[in-house]
Amino acid sequence: MTVLPFDFVPLWTAILGFAVFYYVLFDGFDLGVGIVYGFAPDRAARSLLMNSIAPVWDGNETWLVLGSVGLLAAFPLAFAIILPAVYVPILVMLLALVFRGVAFEFHYRDVEHSTFWDHAFSYGSTLATFAQGIVLGAFIQGFQVDGRHFSGSAFDCFTPFSIVTGVALVFGYGLLGAGWLVMKTEGDLQNWARRLGRYCFVGVLVAIAVVSLWTPLVQPQIGHRWFAWPNVGFLSPVPIVTALLALWEWRSLNNRSEAAPFIGAIGLFLMSYIGIAISLWPMIVPYKFTLWQAASSPSTQAFLLVGTLFLLPVILMYTGWSYWVFRGKVRADIGYH
């Protein structure tokens, strides 16, 4: 095996970190629209909600595939340990996503059962999000590992902590979805989205506080990282910026801002993401294996990098263009179908 003189791990960490964050933001807001969908006032509003994400949702979901295959390719040991450990939430997520995905069509076409498909869409979105939150909570708590394998039970991942992160993510995606809707709708529906956004925001705030205080308690090494001197000085901007963002988000949910609630929600997600990254760095299988220990061979990483560096920017440019095409408010009089 040729040993390449270059360490690809930081680059792959960046690519995968970006892919996961991209997925969380983009599928996050369209799952979030599904979460608030159940509270929509009437049928016309529900149609408008679906129309606002119909052209983009499946592109967003594709990043889930890229993320999972990317993890397998770049950090296979993490893939092989984490996925069996979160067997049940992954199953729930996949089945919920299937139902939610087909609901986009069947809601319109299967008119006799449109209420059923409405429920499939809203419960499917909520359940998939909750399952992703469970995965996140289980990830932060770490896994029981024997050698190179997960050695616990498929139900270990359900803990009070992971239930809290599950609920937290539902509020979080709900906030993203509400922010998206404030941007894409107008009039009464926009006011409704602001109100739901405020409820979600309160949930998010409580969740961030609970998770931020609980995490250092369940994992003392994380507490040490954040609170020991001099780290507490270097890292203090993270909670400070988060607090400022939260303030801004609350204000923009209460004034006439169009895009600010969505941008603020993105900011809060980014800070939470950075917070988790700081807590766990450099672990990819928390407290067991570092990114470097779990990495695939340099030859593997190099081989895949060639195509990725070429294809990924093209995909991003085209995706950006498609969002540009569908910019502006969703109009009630022009249905997507």
Partner: protein, 467 residues
């Protein structure tokens, strides 16, 4: 462990689950790969001749393609997770070699979806004709690239090459040899042609449906004539390719071939077993119908050739025999039936009676046969690979996630069974509805934010034929 516990082990249930999710998934690429190329061909013909019927047929199949492609995306999202949730030791052992192939498949499928599918589906009025043809061509090429990477990975599991083993894990030594491993060219050709033939029979069946009812007669006539000419080339070609693929299996996976043919004892002048009930316990065939010497002739191209039987290998390296044996016969049987049908079409065409009602009815009946042949072929090659995931190197029993319990996998298998049994019939009903509506112009559909043509959506085109 008791027999019952072994029968419903996490290993067996995981295998059943993988078989279930991939069997349903493979039906979609089997159709979309063929359809994408067919659409590109139609677009090319439309560009070259300017005939409007090509345009209408292309638009019609594009609508059906979009539904199938959408279902392919939904069922495809499930696939990569299986490697982690149920086959974690396989993932750990093979990722350094196989993961880039899977990743390239994913990223290229996504690339084609994001860049060209939108133009194909929604851009007909936005871009010039030639650009639309290029988009169709690129989508077709993209689907072929997807098949390329997945079949490269699958073939590597059958005939591994270009690797080194360190601590029980595979590492890449030569990427070209990994991708172009010994069985890959044969498998790729055999599969792609199988997918083309599958699509061809579907198109012929739909054409016959219109012709029998006197609807869309021009489109029906063009579709039937075109596909029967294509099948005239493809079906005989597939028989040659299948033979070559079989010889490749004989060379690299002789135990699999012995199981396919239910050869127990090594001998010269091996007969060809047309039918039998293979009995693994006694290593014999019951009720065998055989043709003397033909087995040796086919496999070694010499009636005196020696063909190896399963007893050459230790018992714990035997694949199941009955399943590949029967699956192979189903595949070959369907292939011969297809050949007979194509030959009939030459005879009818020569007499100018291609639209004879009984022949049209026959075309309708056989139209889904390709899917059964694809599944039978896939079962033959995958069950024949047992008891290995990486042939001769990594056992299936050493590939499964060690943490799983019977309850875990029973739960997930039940979930996939229920959900797929809801989703697939509904999807099929959607496509049937498009077929019943037929190749007529549909008005341009407005989409969100008021712009009529937009980029990519996998499922949304379902809405395009909304009544």
């Amino acid at each position: 462990m008791s027999t019952t516990a072994a029968a419903f082990s996490p290993l067996l249930l995981s295998r059943l689950q993988f078989a279930w999710v991939i069997a349903w998934h493979i039906l979609l690429p089997a159709f979309t790969i063929g359809t994408a190329s067919f659409i590109a061909l139609l677009e090319g013909l439309h560009l070259a001749t300017g005939r409007e019927s090509y345009f209408r047929i292309s638009a019609f199949w594009t609508r059906i393609f979009a539904v199938a492609f959408g279902m392919g995306v939904v069922s495809g999202v499930v696939m990569p997770f299986q490697f982690g949730t149920n086959w974690s030791r396989y993932a750990d052992a093979t990722a350094n070699v196989l993961s880039p192939l899977f990743a390239y498949e994913g990223i290229m499928a996504f690339f084609l979806e994001s860049a060209f599918l939108g133009v194909l589906l929604f851009g007909r009025k936005l871009v010039p004709r030639w650009a639309h043809f290029v988009a169709a061509l690129m989508v077709a090429v993209g689907t072929l690239f997807s098949a390329f990477w997945i079949l490269a990975a699958n073939s590597w599991m059958q005939t591994p090459a270009g690797y080194t083993v360190v601590d029980g894990r595979f590492f890449p030594a030569d990427w070209l040899r990994i991708i172009f491993n010994p069985s890959f060219p044969y498998r790729f050709a055999h599969c792609v042609v199988a997918f083309y033939i599958t699509t061809g029979f579907v198109v012929a069946g739909v054409a016959a449906y219109y012709l029998r009812r006197g609807r869309f007669a021009e489109e029906g006539r063009v579709m039937l004539s075109m596909t029967l000419w294509l099948l005239t080339v493809l079906v005989p070609l597939q028989i040659v390719l299948g033979d070559q693929h079989g010889l490749n299996t004989l060379q690299y996976q002789p135990a699999k071939l012995a199981a396919i043919e239910a050869h127990w004892t090594t001998r010269a002048r091996m007969p060809l077993t047309l039918f039998a009930i293979p009995d693994e316990a006694t290593a014999t065939n019951h009720d065998a119908i055989e043709i003397p010497d033909l087995g040796s002739l086919i496999l070694t191209h010499d009636p005196n050739g020696t063909v190896r039987g399963l007893k050459e290998w230790p018992r714990d390296q035997w694949p199941p025999v009955a399943i590949p044996f029967f699956a192979f016969r189903i595949m070959v049987g369907i292939g011969l039936l297809m050949l007979a049908l194509v030959a009939t079409s030459w005879w009818l065409r020569a007499r100018g009676r291609l639209h004879a009602p009984w022949f049209l009815r026959l075309c309708e009946i056989v139209s889904p046969l390709g899917f059964f042949a694809v599944l039978a072929g896939w079962v033959t090659t995958e069950v024949g690979r047992q008891p290995w995931t990486v042939y001769g190197l990594l056992r299936t029993s050493d590939s499964v996630s060690p943490s799983l319990t019977t309850t875990d996998v029973a739960l997930s298998l039940a979930g996939y069974v229920i959900v797929y049994l809801v989703i697939y019939p509904v999807g099929l009903a959607m496509m049937a509805r498009i077929v019943r509506r037929g190749p007529i112009e549909t008005p341009s559909q407005p989409v969100a934010s008021g712009l009529p043509e937009g980029p990519v959506r996998a499922l949304p085109i379902l809405g395009a034929d909304k009544p």
